[in-house]
């Protein structure tokens, strides 16, 4: 069938874009080898290939130990937020939804605030930083509260009630967080830095922390691509087509939330990606989830890796938060795309 071939071409294009982003991400940054030597060295490091690229072992260390974890983490975070955003938008049939809708971000923020205000004195001496774990637990707990509240009032069949419950729970969590910050002004800076999101200082152990969640979550979401297409005709008609709407929505939401909570706890709240990347993919490649999910995964990964590059170069006086960069690059591009598409159609 022709569509299958076109799907494959899109996937290859998405993969190529991601590869380019990874190479660019690995090749740029203060210090380290000349940028043009890095792609060659990356090839050189592949098994069975060996030639001299003039990159010293020390320079390679900068690439592999400092840049690469950051690139990979950026890819995981961007990809996860985008595929989760696409799934949330599909399952709630609402284009304004992002993966933070049901409280994953607000919960993580609250958890981080609590950990940083109350717990600092206690946990400062711990060998492992407990902030991500606490943020993760709070993110999941918050979404669970939203789901319980929504299900109690609208039944799990109604997506709208769930969205409204999310609005209420998010406000509540944010209010709590603000209250805590008010009482502990000394940690405001630290909390804000956490909230604004960052990939700097990423290590391979950060990557290892989120990989399992991102992989499991993405696989589950990808397996529900067809269900997400059925959801496009509305909950009622989806039910007459044989989809158990409540249960399927729960599975998709749990998977998307798990992945989102994991990446948010490690990298903070990087906004914009989960909302806009799926839309850009829809505008370029069409709205069917068979393409939308994998392309969002790859496109979101590539986008965040690239968005992290200017932030790394502009490090004086302080590194620009990645969330600021994503909005700076993404918003105008999105408006441009909307405009050209509208003119074209």
């Amino acid at each position: 069938m022709d569509t299958a071939r076109r799907d494959r071409i899109w996937l290859i294009a998405g993969g190529a874009f991601l590869l380019v982003a990874v190479v660019v991400g690995a090749s740029t940054g203060p210090a380290g080898p000349d940028w043009w030597r890095v792609p060659a060295e990356l090839v050189n490091r592949l098994p069975l290939i060996a030639f001299d690229t003039g990159v010293s072992e020390a320079e390679w260390k900068i690439v592999w130990q400092i840049r690469m974890p950051r690139v990979v983490l950026g890819g995981l975070v961007g990809g996860m937020l985008s595929i989760a955003g696409a799934s949330y938008q599909g399952v709630f049939r609402n284009p304004l939804v992002d993966p933070y809708l049901l409280g994953a971000a607000a919960g993580a923020g609250l958890g981080a605030t609590i950990a940083l205000t109350i717990g600092r004195g206690v946990t400062a001496s711990w060998p492992v930083d407990p902030v991500p774990t606490i943020a993760f637990v709070f993110a999941l707990a918050t979404v669970m509260v939203t789901y319980t509240v929504g299900a109690a009032f609208g039944g799990s069949r109604s997506g709208v009630t769930l969205v409204l419950a999310g609005v209420a729970v998010v406000s509540f969590a944010t209010a709590l967080q603000t209250f805590l910050l008010q009482r502990n002004l000394e940690v405001i800076r630290e909390v804000f830095q956490w909230i604004l999101g960052r990939l700097s200082g990423a290590t391979w152990s950060d990557v290892r922390l989120v990989v399992p969640y991102v992989v499991v979550s993405s696989i589950v979401l990808m397996l529900h691509r067809r269900h997400l297409d059925v959801f496009r005709v509305g909950d009622e008609e989806a039910a007459t087509l044989g989809v158990s709407v409540g249960r399927t929505r729960l599975v998709i939401v749990v998977a998307a939330t798990l992945g989102t909570a994991a990446v948010v706890s490690v990298s903070g709240l990087i906004g914009f990606v989960g909302l806009v990347v799926p839309h850009v993919v829809r505008l370029i490649a069409g709205a069917g989830h068979r393409r939308l999910l994998p392309l969002s995964l790859m496109g979101g990964a590539a986008f965040l890796i690239l968005a992290d590059v200017p932030g790394r170069m502009l490090t004086r006086p302080a590194e620009t938060p990645i969330g600021v960069v994503t909005a700076f690059i993404g918003a105008p591009f999105f408006i441009y795309l909307l405009r050209t598409r509208k003119v074209a159609s």
């Binding site: 496009r232 005709v233 087509l241 044989g242 829809r282 069409g286 069917g288």
Partner: protein, 269 residues
Amino acid sequence: MSDLRLADLTVTYGRRSRTVAVDAFTDAVHAGEWLGLIGPNGAGKSSLLRAIVGLVAHRGEIEIDGRRVREMSDRERAALVAYVPQQPLIPDDMTAREYALLGRSPYIGYFGSETRRDRAVVDEVLARLTLEEFADRLLGELSGGERQRVVLARALAQQAPILLLDEPTSALDIGHQQQALELVAELRRHDELTVVSAMHDLTLAAMYTGRLTMLDHGRVVASGAAIDVLTAARLRAVFDVSVTVDVDTDGATGESRVIVVPRRSLPAP
């Protein structure tokens, strides 16, 4: 080939106001039969059809071939009953073919994807509704009638033995109305499809269905052959309308056709 049996089917809306939309409806529609539901706006036709596919809470029993629908999974039921809603939700950014393919969902495994056969079924249905030229167009870019035919295509692609149609031809021109209804009539004859349809065009309802049931305020007012159900007096009582009912008998076959023609209550200017 399936029998649909409804016993004391009752649909009520609202906790306090208690609108009884369908009041103890009992009927049995046999394999290959076409039951037409008629009645004024708000009579309960849609509520009845929606109850059968489990979209509204109801009391009473619904059985297909002796099995309670209540006890079936969504998937099992979807393989037995295809439903065309009165107001389908149309995703603008989906092509007609993708949309019709959704009708194959009950046959695709949870993690599966559509097979070549599913695509062939869809292509055939689209061809029979002469929708090939629209197959790869977006639904948002089709006319109202074209969309309605695509929705019918989705239901037919479902290949369920029972077909529920809620005003399936309300937006179609006279030619496509005939095409759609003829197709359903042919499937009913050929595959012994069981059809229940809500229709406002009484002449078409009389022409295509085997039996008519007239509802008013959720209750059955009359049921039987078109010629017995559609009398001018009854139509005046139920619809508050003044009509002429012509019965036109074919000399050769002896078949009669009932034609309902509205009459102006004021003299024409």
